[in-house]
């Protein structure tokens, strides 16, 4: 199929636009007729018919780049735009960024040619569609799993290069010269003694007459690393477009929109998941000056949310008022009048202290097979004298982004407009659409309905005041939508308090890990791991649909974990032990469970990283040396041969995908991302070097100072961390130094990579030292930063040293946002032992050692 017919076919098939068009095509109608002046100035003329990423304002020449991912501190807004601008040879001072609304169909990336081959997972899921996607529409804006740069680096480059190539070809027409004489540099194309600006109407006119360049030509036109400007900070630091606004208080976050006639709502929610409202009395709340209305959030026909109800919120009663203070006061007056109904609610018996024992019991017996070596592990492999056993526990944790959830919604004439900070704009849009169209929360939607929802729900994206996984869930946006629908024509801003945030998170899973190994002489000969954790999929789907959903998400029928969670540090456990057995044991959900920065890697890495150190001590070996021995010689993990049926490699292929393109040319379309322990070894060796491990271990031996080490692969990147701690005469713990090394492929924006790794150290220390959510009678016991403390500046190590591994510049980038977290807890626990402290096998550590509070 040619380009044109394929696109026509797409429209006919109702799939819509969104194809990656590499070139520049500007219809004269668009340029001189249909577009109004304000639209031109703000949005420019799209470069490429179906290209939503970049447009140009004629004459002025401003390049308008649409940033479509959620910006929550990773700097991705600037980084992806700068990649595109770099390939285009745009002058950054003439680039303007606009934040996309929810419009996932626009940001899908298709294969730029017909694909006949059977593609390996994960693409098989998209095979039922009539087109094959590199990035499917659904999820194209979903900013999770540290995937933005991994997924969009090459597409953004191709876009930029395609526009540049088309501009060079158009310049050849303008000056009647050969295209080989035309070269773009900093917003101009030079041809001999002539030059033409990107905004010049002659250039745009000729560009509009050219067809799309072929994929192979664009691929060939990609800049060589030596010509990069911003990418990898080759010649200039990557721009940070929002920095100045951020330090002057100018940016718009979720709570900062002002709409005429806007009211503020606060909700008193049932503290127990799936609980109901028995009764309440609105009189006192309504008597508070400024309170306008008191109303139930959920419609009467909808069972309250919690566990197994998708993202439907907990039952709640809203107080709607003129301003935040009146809403707060009204809610205080309302609170004592509410009687909740939890008579038939099993969640009301949930007690996290008891549940810890339940999890422990779960790992006491055989679970579902996750992975095993050919030589099976049996009881005979463990000799009591040589056996090392340990259990590791990580409680529920709350993400606690600095900006509490907030959403503004306006319902008018059957459509709804939302302003909300969300990591998942298209997911939130679809969830609100279900509310509007009265579709059951767990029902599957057909493409037509999804399209209709995109038409009737508009979602605007501000900057996010942190996300860490909390804002991947749209519950608070759904609440705002329910309230807006009850108050047509009135913009409602739903403001969560910090108490709401701590008490109604989607908590990171509580988990228990049972580890057992046999150490003969110095060698670990057999290893058993049993992991029990409360899967997010138990929160999302009703038990009646567990089986169907398990098929979709790769094994593990609830109450077992999903394929996504098992792939995060369990299936891909890196140690090369002769006999290995890994199992997943069941755990049920009684409160909402979601994802926190690094997700299941957090508890898997804590157990595995700590246990490696315990084995080293049993063997009487240096911890770093023994860690390298456990990892063994560098190898590609061959998971299928060890009974891992479907390893979800952060949803990216393990092997390189090469395909024939436009005739007989074969091109690499997707780089492979195999779990490869060569890289893990390399980061361990590097962190040993930068921390002067050997010298310092010798130096601190026998003192109250010590080093701990841990290494982990997550989101396709490899990290190793050394933490240096000491105890003073009062037995108080001080963290002196943290050294962390990351191999994230090409560091596209080295400064933000460093910033993310520094932040991950702080986030990881926060969780390890202080993190704990407990539950009694189904209700969370913590409220605010006084009883859910997080790390503060005086508790932060004075030296956090980040090293980025040097790689070949053609290496594709891998994840960064979450990858720095998992090694922190185990490295810290190991360091505490090295400094003469206790072996800590549970979070939070402050219960076992004295931490500066």
């Amino acid at each position: 199929m040619s380009n044109v017919t394929r696109r026509k076919f797409l429209r006919d098939a109702g799939i819509g636009a969104g194809a990656l068009v590499w070139g520049c095509y500007i219809a004269p109608d668009d340029l001189f007729g249909k577009l109004s002046l304000p639209k031109l100035i703000h949005e420019g003329v799209p470069l490429g018919k179906d290209n939503f990423f970049v447009s140009i304002v004629p004459i002025e020449g401003t390049i308008v780049i649409t940033t479509h991912r959620a910006e929550m501190g990773q700097g991705i807004r600037s980084s992806l735009a700068a990649v595109l601008a770099d390939e285009m040879e745009a002058d950054w001072d003439r680039v303007r960024l606009i934040q996309a609304r929810a419009a996932s169909d626009k940001y899908a990336i298709k294969f730029p040619f017909e694909v006949k081959n059977e593609l390996p997972f994960p693409y098989e899921k998209t095979y039922t569609l009539k087109e094959q996607y590199l990035i499917p529409a659904e999820g194209s804006q979903f900013t999770d799993s540290s995937r933005s740069m991994t997924a969009y680096f090459k597409p953004m480059r191709l876009f930029g290069a395609g526009v540049r190539l088309t501009f060079e070809r158009a310049t050849a027409k303008v000056f009647n010269v050969d295209v080989s004489e035309c070269h773009a540099r900093q917003h101009k194309i030079y041809a001999g003694n002539n030059s033409i600006d990107f905004g010049d109407p002659r250039l745009l006119f000729h560009a509009s007459k050219l067809g799309d360049p072929k994929y192979v030509d664009v691929d060939d036109a990609l800049k060589k690393p030596k010509d990069w400007v911003f990418i990898n900070a080759a010649k200039k630091p990557m721009p940070f477009a929002d920095a100045e606004d951020m330090v002057t208080g100018k940016p718009i976050y979720g709570a900062d929109y002002h709409l005429d006639g806007m009211l503020t709502a606060m909700i008193e929610r049932c503290p127990v998941a799936n609980g109901q409202i028995k009764s309440f009395d609105a009189t006192a709340a309504l008597a508070v000056p400024g309170v306008r209305n008191v109303q139930r959030v959920l419609p009467p026909n909808l069972p309250p949310g919690g566990v197994g109800q998708a993202f439907i919120p907990h039952a709640g009663i809203a107080v709607i008022a003129d301003n935040t203070w009146a809403a707060l006061k009204g809610r205080r007056a309302l609170r004592p009048t509410i009687v909740w109904d939890n008579d038939q609610n099993p969640n009301a018996a949930y007690d996290s202290t008891n549940f810890r024992q339940t999890l422990k019991d779960s790992t006491a017996s055989k679970g579902n097979l996750v992975r095993r070596t050919k030589a099976d592990v049996t009881d005979a492999d463990f000799d009591s004298a040589n056996t090392v056993e340990a259990e590791y526990y990580v409680p529920h944790l709350a993400q606690a982004p600095m900006e509490p959830p907030v959403a503004t919604a306006l319902f008018k004439n059957g459509t709804i407009e939302i302003w909300a900070p969300t990591q998942n704009p298209d997911g939130a849009q679809q969830a609100v659409g279900r509310v509007l169209l009265n579709i059951a929360p767990e029902a599957d939607l057909d493409e037509g309905t999804k399209k209709r929802i995109r038409e009737i729900v508009t979602l605007h994206m501000p900057l996010l005041g942190g996300g860490f996984g909390r804002k991947s869930k749209p519950d608070y946006i759904i609440e705002a939508a329910f309230l807006a629908i009850q108050n047509p024509g009135v913009p409602i801003r739903l403001q969560w308090t910090r108490e709401d945030d701590i008490q109604f998170s989607y908590y990171n899973a509580v988990s228990s890990q049972y580890m057992k190994a046999n150490v003969e002489g110095k060698k670990t000969t057999a290893l058993l791991q049993r992991s029990a954790f409360t899967s997010f999929f138990g929160t999302l789907f009703p038990e009646s649909r567990a089986k169907a959903r398990a098929e979709m998400f790769g094994g593990g029928v609830y109450p077992y974990g999903s394929g996504i969670e098992r792939a995060q540090g369990l299936e891909d456990m890196p140690f090369n032990v002769p006999k290995l057995l890994i199992e997943n044991c069941p755990a049920k959900n009684y409160i909402r469970v979601g994802w926190m920065r690094s997700v299941a890697n957090l508890y898997h890495a804590f157990a595995i990283g700590s246990f490696a150190d315990e084995l080293a001590r049993k063997a009487g070996e240096d911890s770093k040396k023994y860690l390298l021995e456990l990892i063994g010689e560098g190898r590609l993990l061959d998971l299928p041969s060890e009974k891992v049926a479907l390893y979800r490699n952060n949803e990216l292929p393990i092997d390189i995908i090469n395909l024939p393109v436009e005739g007989s040319q074969v091109r690499q379309i997707v780089p492979g991302y195999p779990p490869d322990t060569h890289h893990l070894r390399a980061v361990v060796q590097k962190v040993a070097e930068v921390s002067q491990w050997d010298d310092n271990v010798r130096k601190y031996s026998g003192t109250r100072r010590g080093l701990g080490i841990a290494a982990h692969r997550s989101f396709l990147s490899y990290v190793a961390t050394v933490i240096d701690v000491s105890f003073n005469e009062k037995d108080e713990l001080t963290i002196n130094n943290v050294y962390t090394v990351v191999d994230c492929g090409l560091a596209v924006n080295p400064d933000r990579v460093k910033a993310q790794m520094e932040g991950a150290v702080v986030y990881g220390l926060s969780a390890a030292l202080l993190g704990e959510i407990t539950v009694k009678n189904g209700a969370v016991e913590q409220h605010n930063f006084d009883d859910y403390p997080v790390l503060r500046i005086h508790q932060t190590p004075r030296n956090i040293d980040v090293t980025i591994m040097e790689v070949d510049k053609e290496t594709p980038p891998t994840g960064i946002g979450e990858v720095g977290v998992p090694t922190i807890a185990p490295a810290l626990a190991n360091a505490i032992v090295a400094a003469g402290g206790p072996r800590i096998r549970e979070i939070p550590f402050y219960r076992k050692v004295k931490v500066l509070l």
């Binding site: 100045e244 951020m246 203070w325 600095m402 942190g466 932040g759 702080v762 986030y763 500046i793």
Partner: protein, 155 residues
């Protein structure tokens, strides 16, 4: 409801609100200055930090009535809008301190007050002045470096 005079960023405002309304909500909801952030409401996180006569205070925990005789400065007034940036703001940009940016107005207001009291703070003084400001992105190492830089000291 009572009427209060508020002197914010050198401008006089008259607000007609509940006298127990925290200053934070008067600044945000009534005056429409959105740079001051709500993070916890109980003086635990520092996102709402403003200056009251040059001192850093948590505006979520000061009643509007108690603020009416003071000169209030918010992040919008720190650089005298449109004028030169405060040395902290410059240092914050140069060292790439912000990540999500949400807590940074509060961090900068605390840091600016610290530098006024101690033009060359040591690390302990920084800890004492800044421990009331939480940053979940974990920008603390760069905040420390930026304060030293703004003070013209080592970074």
């Amino acid at each position: 409801m009572p009427i209060f005079q508020l002197n914010v960023n050198g401008k006089r405002h008259t607000v007609n609100v509940d006298g127990n309304m925290p200053l934070l909500w008067a600044i945000r909801d009534v005056l429409g200055l959105k740079g001051t952030k709500f993070g916890c409401g109980v003086a635990q996180c520092g996102a709402c930090t403003v200056h009251l006569d040059g001192r850093a205070v948590r505006s979520c925990s000061v009643d509007v009535g108690a603020a009416q005789l003071s000169n209030i400065t918010t992040i919008e007034g720190l650089s005298y809008d449109g004028g030169e940036l405060h040395p902290c703001q410059k240092a914050w940009i140069e060292l790439g301190v912000p990540q999500c940016g949400f807590c940074q107005p509060g961090q900068i207001m605390s840091a600016a007050a610290l530098l006024k009291a101690h033009p060359h703070p040591d690390d302990t003084q920084i800890d004492d002045a800044m421990r009331g400001n939480i940053c979940r992105c974990g920008t603390y190492p760069r905040i420390r470096a930026a304060i030293h830089k703004a003070a013209g000291d080592r970074t």
